[in-house]
Amino acid sequence: MKTRRAMFRSKGGVHPASRKRATNAMPVEFMPLSKVLFVSMVQHMGAPARPVVKKGDAVMRGQVLGEAGGYVSAPVHAPTSGKVIAISERPTQAGLPAACVEIEPDGEDRWDAARQPGPDWKTMEAKALVERIVAAGIVGMGGAGFPTHVKLSPPAGKTIDTLIINGAECEPYLTADQRLMVEAAQSIWTGVQIVRQILGARRLVMAIEDNKPDAIQAMSAAMEGTDAELVVLKTEYPQGAEKQLIYAVTGREVPSGGLPMAVGALVENVGTCAAIYDAIVEGRPLTERIVTVTGAMVRTPKNLRARIGTPLADLVAFCGGMVGLPGKIICGGPMMGLAQGSLEAAVTKTTSGVVLLPHQAVQQFSSMPCISCGRCVSACPMRLMPNTLGEMIEAEDNEGAEGLNVMDCIECGSCAYECPAHRPLVQHMRQAKAEITKQRLKKATAAKG
């Protein structure tokens, strides 16, 4: 194993205060079972899962509640044993209603008997491994929730020579991945090797930001004596974004609109690797994840190992409740997370944290006209011109925005973070992207019909 600094530095990026100190030394605690678990069928990118249980069914932990709704989709499993009390429509973290299986735990937490640890993974075919990953419902746990098996099945002719394991965790406040690396370095490492075996990647890179020395130490101990590289990244947001990470490690730019495999690279989050270990070696589907509950309004911030479906309110209550009324509740980190209207939503496979910000830390912008300071242009890791795009979209010129590559925006929020006029630049981009996607779909169906 060799350790080195990242050789490439992508342009742009910002340096928000990391605020990880509240939880980065807190060992992960087990979150007790809630009274009711709300397991959403929309926990990943792609088609929603289809519920396959009925009201009143008794389920075991690890039993399939919803099967994959398509190729780009993933099944959802029961987080514990108990009874299905309802199949309802509940708002997701994004606020849009989606099907949801409500489970009342029986407290025994019995595993589904059908789940058995598999044979030694080293002897298994790549195809069989991917099948087990599909069955375990594993999706990218960094935040986007892209079904992992899709990534692991490159089309024929595409070779992936570089596998990058993402331990950057550049979002402020969140420490879930960091704690996982410290506490479960060995299982992450086993998961990584499984992925490598599936892909046959020549080069294996573990990328961690330099503000996590404990994680770097733990991972290098686990990786000792192998040919993998450990790349220490300079702390910068959004270093952990897929395209930026690939650039920082290999110097290759993923082409616009393309997937990382276009440049022969693949990025897996450390959490995903740990889940792959669980699925292949332990035979457990994905039913829990580590969630950082933090922010100034949480009494005792903690890293929790919580079941999928645990209501956010229970997580906060387990951390001693709120100190006062928060100014903002965020699912995920403060740069890309989703603001919540309530604590009703539940943990999903992609919930990396719950952040409760106090009123004084919340930017209550009343935006001003752009003063062309150019900070967003310098900050944009995709090298877009957010100022021009924002003004275009405000004038409802979506076509012009498309011409200036608004679709390449990764919504990292660096522009709006820097903007002294407090312009809602990311919201503008989102609006335009949603509108353009709609138009493109329309055009595609028109062309077909």
Partner: protein
Amino acid sequence: MNEPVEKTLPIAAKEPTWLASSSPHAHSGDSVRKIMLTVIIALMPALAAAGIFFGWDALRLTGVCIVSCVAAEAATRKLMRRDKGIGDLSAVVTGLLLAFNLPPALPSWMAVVGSIVAIVIAKQFYGGLGYNPFNPALIGRVLLLISFPVAMTTWGPWQILSPAAGVDAITTATPLGLVKTTLGTGQPLPFVFDGDTILQFFMGAKNGCIGEVSVLALLIGGMYLLWRRCISWQVPVFYIGTVAVFATILWLADPTHNYNPLFHILTGGLVLGAFFMATDMVTTPVTKTGLMFFGIGCGVLTMVIRKWGGYPEGVSFAILIMNAFTPLLNRMTRPRVFGHGQKKKQA
């Protein structure tokens, strides 16, 4: 009629306890007001220098300009029913910069006229802060210069430029003006530009607009701005650098009719312009490359006007002309978007 007055919603004071908005939920904490405050602080050394060299006149003009700029801004905003007030401090900055571009003996009412022109015509008529294509303070100055050419070229009391040229001839001229008029009559260069003069010019003992004389004070302010990341280094470096290169070429070609490049850097409004006027965020390009070209363009135009133009000083005109090129520079220097154009990709 039904259109919401605001482009974005302000916070409702009452009811729901917490807020939701699109990400990001963190902010650098910088604001337009803070940037303007930084610029004001950075201008303080130059104001102090102006006070030392021109005394009461400097303070009078500065006060008049700031007060009338702020008043004009408040009045126009109210009249135009625009909601946001003068809290962003941009009017104060405009007032300060305008005052710094006026000669010390200018009557106060002319300063008021200039302030009103700067705020009302150059700024609010275009839509207010952020929409003005030209630097308001410079528009104010240029309008005054065109309207009242005599008052705007009547300078202060300094008599140090050259004992040889006769006191009367130089009391009412800036070094640049003196050079232009002297060379225009076919005479040789009017004074010797050597160590002592350089030091005096650097410290500020010369005729000129109240804020532009002390290069030292301006440099202190400029360094502060650079340190606070309020301006990027491209503009001042390329602006002054271009002037230096241009002046060196002229000087090497014909040393009998041109001073050495330091003369061009230390006289006129170059340093004030390069650090405070050509770096105005609103009217300059947003990309670093754009700023570089902006600086070079300003430098070339300044020297062209100084050498061959009708006016002895060209900083104001150069910056205003380059302001007009800002949208073009923004267009031309768009960065290559990540993942685009490395290899020609099929659509």
